[in-house]
Amino acid sequence: MEAVEVEVWIAASPETVFDFFTDPGLMVQWMGRAVETDPQPGGGFRLEIRDDTVASGEYVAVEPPERVVFTWGWNSEDSVTKAGSSTVEVLLASERDGTHVRLIHTGLASAESATKHGHGWRHYLDRLATAAAGGDAGPDEFAEA
């Protein structure tokens, strides 16, 4: 599975930064214009980023002030990254009077990862098509070239 990893240093304590992943009033400041959260394992969240762009998922781990894990997906009907199809892990560590934030997004489909694993184009297309069809794999209608 392909992963995206992004890091940033913030001049704020891990406690403060952590609240930005759970408190809707703070989350709305960086994630969208309407936010609902139920920050406990199994609890859901919904982020309205724009009219037609809504992300949602479920908290998997809520461990203040160091770690928060949630599933992630777009609510668009034919989005590749469906709700629940990928996972975001956020690690917060005290560093230089602030917080080092590491965000790792795993479970993303990509052509690169498919090629790396030797399945290539066809494997990736199958996966993407499955995602596009809402997770129902259906018959493999792929023709050999």
């Binding site: 995206v4 704020a12 930005f20 703070l26 989005s79 590749v80 965000l103 297309l125 792929f142």
Partner: protein, 135 residues
């Protein structure tokens, strides 16, 4: 940036929609390793030539197919990097969001520090500045 993010989301959705159709996946598989003309592609299917052309247009629009003209014919080949866009998109999305998080969290920290300090000045006891923002 929000507009850009949205445009890229749309591009990814276009790709997903393009390959949700079984025949379009078959076309991509055909031109995965070799360049073929529209006629050669159509010969593999028992649907009309215009129907195949329509599929080719959708695949090109989604960035999954390259088209090259040679003389009077058009040659097609798969463009796998069109699908790598998803990773690039999420990378850009989170980079932008974390920048916004940084700005917001640093402001919030200053607010909390001030609140804590005020409480200390007034002889208050618990002022460590880690309480929730009041609505």
């Amino acid at each position: 940036m929000a507009d850009l993010a949205n445009a890229e989301l749309e591009q990814i959705d276009l790709a997903a929609r393009a390959i949700a159709e079984p025949r379009r996946r078959q076309i991509l598989a055909l031109v995965r390793d070799e360049e073929l003309s529209a006629g050669e592609i159509a010969a593999h299917f028992d649907v009309s030539r215009p129907a195949v052309s329509q599929h080719l247009t959708v695949l090109r629009g989604a960035g999954l197919l390259n088209e090259r003209r040679e003389g009077t014919s058009r040659l097609y080949r798969a463009r796998p990097e069109g699908l790598a866009d998803l990773r690039d998109f999420m990378n850009g999305f989170w980079t932008e969001r974390l920048e916004r998080l940084k700005l917001a969290a640093e402001l919030e920290q200053q607010r909390r520090n001030k609140r804590g300090k005020r409480r200390d000045d007034g002889g208050g006891g618990r002022g460590r500045g880690v309480d929730r923002r009041k609505p």
